[in-house]
Symmetry: C2
Subunit: 315 residues, 2 copies
């Protein structure tokens, strides 16, 4: 009998879920908007009905092995979501227990970046790698660290927030309340901030000067860089410089064999991979030099969150 | 029958070794200078004779369970010392294998800071702690990280070099060849550099102005700080500021329950612990605040290296 996992990704905008094989094939995928659920109870009621409906569509002869959930501020140890700033619910929500009660399947939960990290390990490019880092360069910067073949969760379940390691204590204001976090430089919004800084400091011509500041996106910067726009190229170089130093510092802690980059900025390919590798090597301690691969994640962007959540079931 | 471990600490100046019980009692301790051994073979010959002699003094009814070695650039996976800059030997030396052949006991080897970290776990204050950091603030800065109850060794055995994480890429020259490593600020020599910088920048009176620059030591700065010397107090504050930020960044990766400080600067007590805790909390991401103890190591300074090496036998 084929065993299947349910992967659920809870975000502040949408909830998506899917049925996933142990080879990482998403055989069914659905989603619904998040914002209407004032309490976790109302959310669980709705999700339970959705899932029970979905279970009717299971392939013949298959059965559900378990449910995995990726959620902001998700705690693997307790299965709770704790004070998530982007969700409506206050305090500590025992979401895994709640869903286990209504559906009677084992439910595991962790934060979204750690889920994606486990996804890379179970389904992706990190299958036989016991020591690696996984970095998501999206709206923010998320991360997960695997050492000795196990994800580092920390004493409280919240390990792996490289996006909030501080690059410059007097640097850019971060929405976490502190200054100079990696996320304010090496994210989609970070590279936009870098472009604004470069445009203000230099008089270099740039197609980006023609766009209103509110509208500049990381995608536009990418397209300008492909056209050899100096400001855009410099922005990718500076982003990679900051990322390279912070990766070198993280290497000094966990000494991984590989670093996987995922998400919006990682889609810029050589524009981000090449200079990040160059700067990381430059700032690495001698014993770590020329040993570490920086690779693209193998997780397909649209399914990564569901795959990561589902991977919790197989881990 | 009582089982005993042999702990050997190899340093560029001295080699010390001892017989250690599984409770961490050092029942015999000896040392000899390192510098006379031109090759690893000559060293192993000498060490073997020394140890065979020592074994004659074993308590009646006891036996040796194994040998642990702490050494600079020691690799736990392979039992080799690799390109250690402070030892005479070039290349990769299979020291654990060599000693196993002459003595016929199991031999484990790792780098000195990781050995001390395991010492803290087996004999010290980290006995029941599954996620912690261990930081040595000595001539340099060493570190070890434990996650999920296991030391993080990395893919190559060289994880745990927080002393060479970069605080300021344009900062102080480090003897590793790069600039701005934590070690250039938060070590015994780092705080001396900070005092020189403060003396050059301010006209604040200080007893430290009376000492020739070559002679200023971290101990003199400590004594001046106890007398409320402003320059000395400011130096401790700045040292703690840099250390606090770098600890906060490391917490974002491994989320430990406790951080243990060991070595020369840690002996300054409240002068280093209080401001380091204050700055770390200030620069921690919200989810980590007010959860992490910064504590003194329980390892006695004179025996820590031997205890750490011996702990490898029991781990």
């Amino acid at each position: 009998m084929q065993k299947l996992a349910i992967g659920i990704d809870i975000g502040g905008t949408n909830v998506s879920y899917g049925i996933v094989t142990n080879e990482g094939e998403v055989i069914l995928k659905k989603s619904f908007p998040f914002k209407n659920f004032k309490t976790a109870e109302i959310f669980i009621d709705f999700l339970t009905k959705e899932l029970k409906n979905t279970f009717k569509d299971l392939p013949k002869g298959s059965s559900i092995k378990g449910i995995g959930i990726g959620a902001p501020n998700g705690n693997f140890y307790t299965g709770t979501i704790e004070y998530a700033p982007n969700l409506n619910w206050e305090g500590i929500i025992p979401l895994a227990d709640m869903l286990n009660k209504t559906l009677n399947y084992p439910v595991k939960l962790t934060n979204d970046a750690n889920a994606a990290t486990i996804g890379e390990m179970i389904y992706g490019n990190a299958k036989n790698i016991k020591n690696f880092m996984f970095i998501t360069l999206g709206t923010g910067v998320g991360s997960g660290f695997v050492a000795n073949g196990e994800i580092i969760l920390g004493h409280d379940g919240f390990a792996g927030e490289l996006g909030h390691a501080i690059f410059d204590p007097n640097g850019r204001q971060c929405n976490c309340g502190r200054k100079g976090c990696l996320e304010t430089y090496a994210s989609a919004s970070g590279i936009v901030r870098t472009v604004l800084e470069l445009l203000s400091k230099s008089d270099e011509p740039s197609v980006l000067r023609e766009i209103s500041l509110d509208e500049i996106s990381s995608k536009m910067i990418y397209e300008a860089a492909l056209e050899e726009d100096i400001i855009a190229l410099t922005a990718f170089d500076y982003t990679s410089y900051v990322l390279g130093i912070m990766l070198a510092n993280a290497v000094a802690i966990t000494s991984p064999e590989a670093i996987f980059l995922f998400g919006g900025l990682a889609n810029a390919g050589d524009l981000i991979f090449k200079p990040t590798k160059k700067y990381m090597e430059e700032y690495l301690l001698n014993i770590y030099k020329n040993k570490i691969d920086i690779k693209a994640s193998a997780l397909p962007e649209n399914d990564a969150a569901i795959l990561g959540a589902a991977a919790l079931v197989w881990e």
